[in-house]
Amino acid sequence: MSNKSNKWWYLLFTTPLLLIFITVVIIPFLIGIYYAFFEWDGIAANPKVFVGFENFVQLFGDTRFLASTWKTILFTLLAVISVNVVGLVFALLVTSKLRTANAARTMIFMPYLIGGLILGYIWQFIFLDVFTLFGKVTGFDNVFFNWLIDIDYALYALVFVFTWQMAGYIMIIYIAGIQGIPNDVIEASKIDGANGWQRLRKITFPLLMPAFTISLFLTLSSAFKIYDVNLSLTNGGPANSTEMFAMNIYNEIFGYSNYGFGQAKAIVFFFIVAAITLTQVYITKKREVEM
């Protein structure tokens, strides 16, 4: 076949998707950078005023944004730890030779399919009614009360629900990793007299590093970008104490019509997400061991 017709086929196969991709992702990304340097209220008839880097400078004086940055970091930190610990424990449990393991795996994965917005509403009811009831019955009403109306606890409620959503998903990844560990390595260590904890620390964990890389990447980036659960569970409240990054940006742009300033935040958001996830992948990749 001639080179020319090959080129034609290449275009025919790739252009439709790339055209859509460029329209939906690339062009808006470039326009987004442009908007970040303007002051504009989003109304087409009103002027866009070029302000240079002023939007970015102004970010450092926006206390609500800085508070939301801090909350997002705290939330992400707690969420990443809790999702991965719970996910890994579940994975270790359901890969042990138990007959109920399959059923358990299917059940634990379920919340991930339901979708963040709906999970948030489900848990709103549980915190409101079931937690309160449970606290009354057991007398532990200093632990079981409606977390969503408490400035400090509302963030933990968000971590809790996020863990419920993601743990099953992360469990699946760890299961794939655990099943990839060759049996003879485990057998050999048993013959050498290693106990369960030693096997976990010296064999399972090091060989699970690729699964750690992926799981940490997925939990980090989705915790940073959390929006749906945030919206339906707390809507940022009480008193903006759970307004995460993504929600702050949404509110700045569509709530307060500060299109330019909001977009500057959105660009900063992109750089933070990219920097943190790439750093994490770089660090954990380096620790992966070859079999």
Partner: protein, 278 residues
């Protein structure tokens, strides 16, 4: 002794899993209760099974309509994504030149962009397209499908690309010698071989598109076009106080997901595992 320990472990695991799913139990039982009964004890089984609140929630959410919209948008988006991204990934993987590399790297890099970074300029650009080219991007299900395809393309091409690389090229060469065109080679030889990864791509996209709230909320304002997450959002905006009705509404939104899960359970768990590891 050992047997007892094993049974205890089995039971413990089942209890943990059931506890994990207990929120679902709570919405099921309360979806049948009236408000009085719900406030008396939210954990107890309902005294009677009446589907009254389901019918009421169905009507208030315009549920069947929303279900239809969600199905239409998800199925069409996913089918087009599979067709276009598999073709693109195959060409990119099999044509080893600079352009392919640049396209592929660009696709991968954009996976790091959060939706919030794109949402405002995307809306601006879409309204420009609507106004100048007179292609209605807002308030049409097709416009939303177009945007879903754009956002899904990176991950889908990435998954297909990795899989194509693992297929030996000799089969394609044999088919070419036999006189098949590129089109024939792809659809008759390659695409059937891509089946395992196609399942993964479909499942990942079905979950993402079915549950997506933000993009539809920005593009669909017509009541009649609402998807399930959108109609749930508006339903809660109006009826938060009637929790028994809300529970029935939530159950309605979960039922299609449960049916999907029961039907495709094995593929879903496998697909998710593979999609993540690739």
């Amino acid at each position: 002794m050992r047997k007892i320990r094993k049974i205890t472990k089995e039971l413990l695991l089942l209890v943990v899993a059931l506890f994990f799913l207990s929120p679902i139990y709570i919405i099921i039982v309360n979806s049948f209760k009236d408000r009085q009964e719900l406030y008396e004890n939210a954990l107890a089984l309902p005294k009677s099974f009446s589907f009254q609140y389901y019918l009421e929630a169905m009507e208030k959410m315009n549920f069947l309509h929303a279900l239809g919209n969600s199905l239409y948008i998800t199925i069409l988006s996913v089918l087009i994504i599979v067709v276009l991204s598999s073709m693109t990934a195959w060409m990119l993987a099999r044509t080893d030149n600079k352009l392919s590399k640049i396209i592929f790297m660009t696709l991968i890099a954009t996976m790091l962009i959060p939706f919030q970074t794109l949402m405002m300029p995307l809306m601006q650009f879409m309204s420009t397209i609507t106004n100048t080219l007179h292609i209605p991007m807002f308030n049409t299900r097709e416009g939303l499908i177009f945007m879903h395809i754009g956002f899904s393309s990176s991950i889908s091409v990435f998954l297909y690309h990795g899989f194509v690389k693992s297929i030996p090229i000799t089969l394609e060469e044999a088919a070419t010698i036999d006189g098949a065109s590129k089109f024939g080679v792809f659809w008759r030889v390659i695409f059937p071989m891509l089946k395992p990864i196609t399942v993964t791509v479909m499942i990942l996209n079905v979950i993402n598109i079915w549950n997506d709230y933000l993009l539809p909320s920005l593009t669909l304002t017509d009541k009649g076009l609402r998807t399930i997450p959108l109609s749930t959002f508006y339903f809660f905006g109006e009826f938060t106080i009637k929790w028994n009705l809300a529970m029935a509404g939530l159950m309605l939104t979960i039922i299609p997901v449960v049916i999907f899960y029961v039907l495709a359970q094995k593929h879903i768990i496998k697909g998710i595992g593979e999609g993540a590891v690739k």
